[in-house]
């Protein structure tokens, strides 16, 4: 699972709804990639004023083959970096580091699993779905988005999952509402023993709550702003409770992005809880702060 740093190349890029699905030739990245991990791409080319890499969940990974390994990602244009990625053509070089992060944990024994994806968040779930099925797990899926064009992978989900529920905020596709409106019935119908979720933070939290109400575990992949993506800078932290019940500010890039939903202190994300290890008393003067 050691990440590699390679100069990759765009094999293809196509629009899928509001997104760009990009396949990158990136030898070595796919070899050890596991569901829930991500790649970090340099953006802007040689003259770029954008310093930091951009993180994208691995949607697909093909270790060998004619191209010596490819990875697929799904990109939503947000700012300058993603706009640049969305402008790439076949053959354009892309600098890739990956696979990064801790993958989803897999059930030790076959169990029924519900996979919940919000927006492009579903991209990170298809590799997981495949792997779960390979382990004889029943897989049901729930996809939600603001609008129909922001759903990703509906067709693939239909093929992959035993059942698929779709929700949109505006009712443009599937049921009007949010994923947690339908999650309880899917869990019940499937007799689910675990929930996996990937999408915006409020959705992850809500999925965790639903899973908790059924007393089943929920694994979530969070998306925190990252400077390095490899664990050296400490920008991507959030308060997570450890096995020892101690809250620590843990790095979502290496200790995550996958966490057990019931370990994340959702109320305190964006703060340092007073009881976190090493929390300084509020408003106390500190000597340095880098």
């Amino acid at each position: 699972m050691r990440p590699v740093h390679v100069r990759g190349e765009v094999l293809s890029r196509k629009r899928v709804g509001a997104y760009h699905q990009i396949t990158l030739i990136a030898p070595g990245v796919a070899d050890s990639a596991r569901p829930g991990q991500f790649v970090a791409l340099a953006v802007g080319g040689a003259t770029s004023g954008l310093l930091l890499r951009r993180a994208f969940a691995i949607y697909g990974a093909t270790p060998a083959g004619v191209y010596g390994g490819t990875v697929q990602i799904v990109v939503a244009v947000r700012g300058g970096g993603t706009a640049w990625l969305a402008s790439l053509d076949q053959g354009d070089p892309v600098d890739v580091v990956g696979p990064l992060g801790s993958p989803f944990r897999l059930p030790a024994r076959p169990v029924s699993a519900v996979l919940v994806g919000g927006g492009y968040g579903s991209a990170g779930l298809f590799g997981l779905a495949q792997m779960l099925r390979g382990r004889s797990c029943r897989v049901d899926m729930v996809l939600g988005a603001a609008s129909a064009d922001r759903l990703f992978g509906e067709l693939e989900a239909k093929r992959t999952a035993v059942s698929l529920e779709v929700t949109t905020d505006d009712g443009g596709a599937g049921r009007r509402g949010v994923v947690t409106d339908v999650l309880p019935e899917v869990i019940e119908r499937a007799g689910a023993g675990v929930v996996y979720a990937c999408g915006p933070m409020p959705m992850l939290r809500a999925c965790g709550d639903v899973a908790a109400s059924y007393d089943i575990p929920c694994q979530v992949a969070v998306e925190e702003s990252m400077a390095c993506g490899i664990g050296v800078c400490m920008t991507c932290v959030l308060p997570v409770v450890g096995d020892d019940r101690v809250t620590r500010m843990v790095r979502s890039c290496v200790d995550g992005p996958v966490f057990a939903a019931d370990r994340v202190r959702w109320d305190d994300v964006g703060t340092v809880p007073a009881d976190a290890l090493g929390a300084t008393p509020a408003r106390a003067p500190v000597a340095g702060a880098s």
């Binding site: 050691r2 340099a42 390095c228 500010m249 703060t271 929390a279 702060a289 880098s290």
Partner: protein
């Protein structure tokens, strides 16, 4: 044709010395940009570097600032980590031994809230084997109380350095890491050297603010952050230039926006005896080793048989005929022109 042995990269003696301590080469990581080296070991052998400068460690474990802790800026970034770290005990039992085991040279950065803190930290480190050097971080730009910045006041800076020197192990160089956010960096540098610093690391980040134009509030939870990356490189080179001009015998560990071997060479020519690669690691995890290779190549191309020959070179007018360089042809006229530019 006459056989000529051209100087190539492998020929260049990259050995570096900082205050008498010898390092295999002059490329280091920068504090806070490499944690304690472990994560980077996935990408390269940390023993290949001159040294690994560890994240500033404090006496006790520290959770740091709330998030957001980062904002990207043009050719730079702002950070406000708040010195999150495990504290000196965990560092000494966990991180330091690992570095020693790898055969890396550990440069331990320390940070405190009081002169006493620094003294205690230095004392703790004096008991540890394998500390190649101590870097004293007296220059944190993103403190919540600006008055507390030791590095912005020659008096406070000198008190810290004196206290550290009193506790530090003999033979282990103590470097003071300076902030650029001062009117007169030479004055602070001098105060640190007078107080016993063997050398100076510079620069730390510049204090900055980014406003989020959507929330209409500062982007960073802590409002201010430290600006790093190529954006600040000219300021960093200027600081090195000024301090080396004032105190040519004091070794400088130069940093601030180094992303390539030529960037590193700028610092060296300006007076740095070694360099740290910081933010560039976020863009390229292998940046330190790449910078080292590029620097070696650049030195060979310019006819420097020894890295050390390049230190401070930009302060002197060009040689009429640079040593060992077949490609550069400096005429007397050009040399005179350059002389003119010296002030």
């Amino acid at each position: 044709m006459r056989a000529v042995d051209f100087l190539t990269a492998p020929d260049v003696d990259m050995g570096a010395a900082l205050a008498g301590r010898r390092f295999p080469n002059p490329v280091f990581t920068a504090s806070g940009c490499a944690a304690s080296g472990r994560e980077l070991a996935q990408f390269f052998d940390v023993a290949e570097l001159g040294g690994v400068v560890t994240k500033s460690v404090m006496l006790r474990p520290r959770a740091g600032r709330p998030t957001p802790r980062m904002a990207e800026t043009p050719s730079g970034m702002l950070n406000s980590i708040g010195l999150q770290g495990p504290g000196i005990d965990a560092f000494c039992s966990h991180d330091l031994p690992w570095l020693v085991e790898q055969g890396a040279r550990a440069v331990v950065s320390i940070a405190g809230s009081s002169v006493q803190d620094y003294a205690e930290l230095a004392g703790r480190l004096a008991e540890q084997p394998g500390v190649a050097m101590v870097e004293v971080n007296i220059s944190c730009p993103n403190v919540e109380d600006r008055g507390q910045v030791f590095g912005c006041d020659p008096g406070a800076a000198s008190a810290v350095i004196r206290a550290v020197r009193a506790e530090a192990a003999r033979g282990v160089p103590v470097f003071a890491k300076l902030s650029p956010d001062v009117t007169d960096i030479v004055a602070v540098a001098r105060a640190c050297v007078d107080a016993g610093a063997h050398g100076l690391s510079m620069i730390n980040t510049l204090l900055g603010v980014v406003i989020d134009t959507d929330t209409l509030r500062p982007t960073l939870a802590g409002t201010t952050g430290g600006l790093s990356g190529p954006a600040i490189r000219p300021v960093a080179v200027r600081c090195v230039w000024q301090v080396h001009a004032a105190m040519p015998d004091v070794p400088i560990l130069g940093m601030g926006g180094i992303a390539t071997g030529l960037d590193a060479l700028q610092f060296v020519l300006a007076g740095a005896s070694a360099v740290s690669v910081g933010t560039a690691v976020f863009a390229d995890p292998g940046a330190p080793v790449r910078v080292l290779a590029q620097l070696r190549e650049a030195l060979a191309e310019r006819g420097f048989p020894r890295f050390s020959d390049a230190i401070g070179r930009a302060h002197r007018p060009p040689d009429p005929m640079p040593v060992g360089n077949e490609n550069v042809d400096v005429t007397a006229e050009e040399a005179a022109e350059h002389d003119d530019a010296v002030r």
